[in-house]
């Protein structure tokens, strides 16, 4: 449905987005993940036609954004990072304006009523937007994006600045909307992406570093998995017991006081050693106090993928600052 190919955006010499390509299938919820300043917003601004790319193309249903801007824009509902609201209007006046601006053909009353119910803003419809709380403003922004029932929704960090309850509600709304629409959603909050999205594109420094389902991403980079265990008794004995179990690769421990030690066990990720651990420890009269599996979370994947980039970048900037220092010496 959306095809982004070789997208590059330069601001002066700096590349905000560098040769980014991906596709989004109809009905898919794509998560766009990256640290702040990674180029997520720039990408979204290009897809929606707000700014142009330096090179590369974006097509929606085979239509180029630059060549058929009006048709493409009609298909897209966009919620930018800061919801684009007119503070001096009431919610209904604003939605009326959007209705006219986007030249929507649907019946005004039923359409607006439906949208206000979806995002739950019916009770504030006669209030001035500037007097609404951040959460409600965000919802009005979402309502704006939904006007005209666009097939595609592009949401730039839709839950930023909301309280946990509102975040949950908005996520629920987005998930419901995703049942019949194509959604691209950006975020730097990982649980959000893994909760809502079917596929994740991780972007860092303007470059795509990974693209897969949240599960595959965690699996692919996990390789090995591990367990954390707390037990009473001699550490050396316990270490011996653990090492004797099949599937254990390594074990380390730390004293956490009162005769209790915490063990970090790394396994090959295929054999489940929890039962073996239990029997082995009970045979030696060493009570297990805690046993938790340690899967690799998307968070770790994300940090792993973005950290290597960052390290090389830091080095680069360090070199640059050294060059600058030399200059100033002269």
């Amino acid at each position: 449905m959306i095809t982004v190919s070789n997208l590059t955006k330069k601001y002066g010499a700096k590349k905000a987005v560098d040769n980014v390509s991906f596709t989004v299938k109809k009905g898919e919820i794509l998560g766009f993940l990256g640290p702040n300043g990674a180029g997520k917003t720039t990408c979204m601004n290009i897809i929606t036609g707000y700014i142009s790319s330096t090179s590369g193309t974006v097509t929606v249903d085979g239509l180029d954004v630059l060549k058929n801007p009006e048709e493409v824009k009609r298909k897209i509902g966009y919620l930018p990072e800061n919801p684009p609201l007119y503070m001096d209007m009431t919610v209904s006046e604003y939605l009326r304006f959007i209705y006219e601006l986007k030249k929507i053909k649907l019946d005004y009353n039923t359409h607006v009523k439906e949208i206000m119910e979806t995002v739950k803003i019916t009770d504030v419809k006669n209030r001035l937007i500037k007097n609404l709380s951040k959460g409600y403003k965000q919802r009005v922004g979402l309502a704006q994006a939904l006007m005209g029932n666009p097939e595609i929704l592009i949401l730039d960090e839709p839950t930023v600045g909301l309280d946990p309850k509102q975040i949950n509600e908005i996520r629920g709304v987005i998930k419901d909307l995703g049942k019949e629409r194509t959604i691209i959603l950006s975020s730097h909050i990982l649980p959000e992406v893994s909760a809502i999205c079917e596929r994740v594109v991780i972007i860092n420094g303007g470059v795509i570093v990974a693209s897969d389902t949240p599960e595959n991403l965690s699996k692919g980079l996990a390789g090995k998995s591990g367990l954390t265990l707390q037990a009473e008794g001699e550490a050396e004995v316990a270490q011996g017991i653990i090492k004797d179990i099949d599937g254990v690769l390594s074990v380390s421990f730390k004293d956490i006081g009162e005769g209790v030690f915490e063990y970090y066990i790394e396994t090959d990720g295929e054999t489940d050693i929890r039962k073996d651990l239990f029997y082995a420890f009970s045979k030696n009269n060493m009570p297990i106090l805690m046993l938790t599996p340690r899967g690799v979370t998307l968070e770790e994947v994300f940090l792993k993928l973005t950290a290597s980039e960052k390290a090389s970048k830091d080095e680069h900037s360090k070199q640059q600052s050294e060059v600058k220092n030399n200059d100033s010496d002269i």
């Binding site: 801007p69 930018p80 684009p84 007119y86 001096d88």
Partner: protein
């Protein structure tokens, strides 16, 4: 386009700007009318309108300063530029909202000739030509203000630059006369909205002046569209 036009026109009256503009314009014009026409018992309104060009300098910047700057500040430009509307329609919608408010003030000012009718016979046609000329000159200057508003981020800067520009155009004829080069004078005169307007005060309604004013606005609307497009490409 109509959606943007309606919204902008409405927003003049949700802020003090619309009221301030109408209030001061009508107050000043009332004083000028009493002074140049009633007090001196003159039925020709060209002096009145010549004096009234003062509001071009002082009040038109007020009308245009927030047209684009406000959108940039509130990020609502993102909404407009990602809506299925062309940039030209956005610019024209905003331009028309300022022109209509300005025109509305002029329509109220149409009372003045009818006040004079109470005291004697006057020829209304040349007076209406004056109104039309004043309206077209104002609309041309508004197009400059619209352009300036699109090129800056701050309302204050937009207002100040528009003020300076309109003031510059106003005194350009005088500056040009200092230089005794016909070429410069010709070039400046061509650009001077005020010079064109004086043709109307001479009671001449020439088609070329009307075309001049309309194309003046068209050029600046086009420049505004270009400057917005350019920002998206840079």
């Amino acid at each position: 386009m109509t959606a943007i036009f309606k919204r902008e026109l409405r927003s003049y009256f949700t802020s003090p700007i619309g009221y301030v503009f109408l209030g001061i314009t009508l107050l000043v014009s009332g004083i000028f009318f009493v002074y140049s026409n009633l007090y001196r018992t003159v039925k020709d309104m060209s002096d009145f309108f010549n004096d009234l060009t003062l509001i071009f300098v002082l009040l038109l910047p007020l009308l245009t300063m927030r047209l684009f700057t406000e959108d940039k500040k509130n990020k609502t430009d993102q909404l407009l530029l990602t809506a299925p509307v062309t940039v030209t329609k956005i610019v024209v919608g905003k331009y028309l909202s300022a022109v209509v408010l300005f025109g509305f003030a002029l329509v109220i000012m149409l009372i003045y000739p009818f006040v004079m009718l109470l005291y004697g016979k006057i020829n209304l046609l040349p007076i209406f030509a004056l109104y039309l000329g004043f309206f077209l000159a104002g609309a041309s200057l508004i197009s400059i203000g619209v352009f300036i508003s699109a090129t800056t981020e701050s309302q204050i800067i937009a207002a100040v630059i528009t003020f300076i520009t309109i003031f510059g155009i106003m005194i350009s004829g005088w500056i040009a006369s200092v230089f005794n080069y016909p070429f410069i004078r010709y070039a400046v005169d061509w650009f001077s909205v005020f010079k064109r307007f004086t043709e109307f005060t001479a009671g001449v309604l020439s088609l070329s002046s009307v075309v001049y004013f309309l194309s003046f606005s068209a050029v600046f609307i086009y420049l505004t569209v270009l400057s917005i497009e350019k920002k998206r490409w840079s």
